[in-house]
């Protein structure tokens, strides 16, 4: 570790991983509710479990992105963080706000929480992924602004690199597009149109900039390849991301009352969205092949390569599978969507977070890499989580294809609930895969506490 203030990142990562565990526990609960409908009913209805599952995901990824930024930016800028005290303060505000919100979901009914937080004054609750009380959303904005200010000041008063500037663009975009969460008209078409400016322009837009910057940083560190080469790749990847992804928003404008031309625009542009992900895969493997050094942290290299492959499969291939309007006509809002969502989020954003954590945590704990024993266990967790996520995705895809056929494609469609019962076997298999994922996560946690002889080497 070159700068003392990078250490701020450590607590962000610990919080992120703790919330990750919570997310997976609720995922397993929901998976159970898919097959045993009254599991934990009425104490934890499905909608509450799902809200906790998705909101914890978003919050822990934000913690991880912030931690990654606090670690990466001082090193890139070659100076201490502008204000470590502000970073620490924001950590506690964000953690307390996040914890209170999740407790609110679990201890009250959602309508009680809405009343308690004065939702009627500025109603923003009850929309997918944006279920947080308005007051929490205001808190998110404050934390995000303070964070972007802190990171921005560090970058702008230090050495400016492509990696840090791309990261900053992504973070500013994240903060700006979140503001659309406050626009909630009664008109459902308009509501949905602008809701996607948060959701799509985050995950298929600016978050990919953050992902690209973190991946580039880790690859510079672990491969020793010339920065010029890596930065050129980064530029061209994020160029393709935004060129395809911005108009690609149109694949969400097929069936919500928007004009028909979106069927063409959305199909064509989003069909190209896999290109940047494929380039990312080429990029990662090329850089590792051309490495000028063998970094002792093999686990971090594995996570980096895993990110590139799984993001391409989950976001690229599984996204493409149902993005053309004539296909999406049948698959929209079915288990196909769920399958894609799971592998895309895991492959792109979970794995890049774990890549950064894997690379930086040993350094923050005073060693260049973990012991061989610890790394071996960490790699076990990589395979357990990644393979079980592949199976979750495959089982949901199978369920989705059958659902589409039974409920929409056949000449004699059956009702939603009848179709759900017919595909139950796949939900059981998904639940088993989910439990394997949980085991993989526990193995991952254990790997942090495995001792052993640590590899010697210079920190880079």
């Amino acid at each position: 570790m070159k700068y003392q203030s990078q250490l701020v990142a450590q607590k962000y990562f610990i919080a992120a991983l703790s919330l990750f565990l919570g997310q997976i526990l609720f995922g397993v609960i929901m998976g159970m509710q898919y097959v045993v409908g009254d599991f934990l009913f009425p104490e934890i209805p499905f909608n509450i479990a799902r809200m906790v599952h998705t909101n914890l995901l978003i919050v822990w990824l934000l913690f991880a992105f912030m931690g990654a930024s606090y670690y990466l930016v001082p090193e890139e800028s070659e100076r201490e963080l502008y204000s470590p005290a502000l970073a620490n303060l924001m950590f506690w505000i964000f953690l307390v706000a996040g914890a209170l919100t999740v407790l609110g979901y679990l201890l009250f009914t959602y309508s009680e929480l809405a009343a308690l937080t004065f939702n009627e004054l500025w109603p923003t609750m009850g929309r997918e992924f944006l279920e947080q009380p308005t007051i929490t959303k205001v808190g998110i904005v404050i934390v995000a602004l303070a964070f972007v200010f802190n990171i921005g000041m560090t970058i702008l008063t230090g050495r400016k690199t492509v990696v840090s500037l791309v990261l900053l663009t992504g973070l500013v975009g994240l903060a700006v597009f979140f503001l659309f969460a406050f626009y909630n008209p009664v008109n459902v078409v308009l509501d949905k149109y602008w809701w996607w400016w948060v959701v799509h322009l985050w995950v298929e837009g600016v978050w990919e900039l953050i992902l690209g910057a973190i991946l580039a940083f880790v690859l510079i560190k672990v491969t020793g390849v010339d920065r010029e080469v890596i930065e050129k790749w980064l530029y061209i990847i994020i160029a393709m991301t935004l060129i395809t992804g911005i108009i690609g928003t149109g694949h969400h404008y097929f069936w919500i009352g928007t004009p028909d031309y979106w069927q063409w625009l959305g199909s064509i542009f989003s069909a190209m969205e896999p290109i940047p992900f494929f380039m990312m895969t080429l990029f990662a493997f090329n850089m590792v092949n051309k490495r000028r050094r063998d970094h002792p942290n093999k686990a971090a290299v594995l996570w980096a390569l895993g990110t590139a492959v799984m993001a391409f499969l989950g976001a690229g291939v599984w996204g493409f599978m149902h993005t053309l309007a004539p296909i999406n006509y049948y698959t929209h809002g079915t288990q196909i969507t769920a399958a894609h969502g799971h592998m895309a989020f895991y492959g792109a954003y979970v794995m890049i977070s774990l890549t950064m954590i894997s690379y930086s945590m040993p350094i923050m704990r005073g060693k260049v890499a973990n012991s061989q024993a610890a790394q071996t266990l960490e790699m076990w967790s990589f395979w357990l989580m990644t393979v079980s996520m592949v199976f979750i995705t495959l089982f949901l895809t199978a369920a989705g294809i059958l659902q589409v056929y039974l409920q929409r494609f056949t000449d004699t469609p059956i009702t939603f609930m009848q179709a759900q019962e017919k595909i139950e076997i796949f939900y059981w298999l998904r639940e088993v895969s989910g439990i394997v994922f949980l085991i993989g996560l526990i193995v991952y946690f254990i790997s942090f506490f495995v001792k052993g002889e640590e590899p010697q080497g210079v920190e880079a």
Binding site: P45, S111, K232, I246, G250, G257
Partner: protein, 145 residues
């Protein structure tokens, strides 16, 4: 990548390309907003529907259901539920009202939300309004949603 393709070329594609498509997207957004009023059934929006949308949101209906395909996939699509329920707001209200508090053993069941008559009227009118939105190819594909 070949040396003839330089970093500054890559940077220019990034800045130029993203700015261009962002502007195109903003232009399309403007045009879309000119077109939306022709098909969004806004004539049906009134105070009752507005209350209904609040009820929809404040009970987190989207946490189980999809509405025009967006939401969770645990419970039926509701963009055409008004049609599926025989174009009867009374049937919608009756279904919501009759949900058992303790659920149904072994099966998925909608929670009992204890809505007032006014709220029930709102949510039913809201679902009727959404059903009237003119979606492309009249999505969802059939009555089952």
């Amino acid at each position: 990548m070949k040396e003839t393709f330089t970093k500054s070329m890559a940077r220019n594609i990034y800045y130029g390309g993203s700015m261009f498509f962002l502007l195109v997207f903003i232009g399309l957004t403007y045009d879309t907003h000119q077109e939306i009023p022709k098909r969004d059934n806004h004539e049906a929006i009134n105070e009752v529907v507005a209350l209904g949308k609040r009820v929809w949101e404040e009970n987190n209906c989207i946490g189980c259901h999809t509405l025009l395909g967006e939401g969770a996939y645990f419970a039926p699509e509701l963009g055409n539920v008004y049609t599926r329920f025989g174009e009867s707001t009374e049937a919608l209200k009756g279904f919501i009202k009759s949900r058992p508090v303790e659920g149904i053993p072994g099966r998925r069941s909608m929670p009992q939300f204890n809505l007032s008559e006014e709220e029930l009227e709102g949510i039913a009118e809201f679902l009727k309004y959404v059903d009237g939105i003119e979606t492309a190819r009249d999505w969802p594909p059939n009555i089952q949603g």
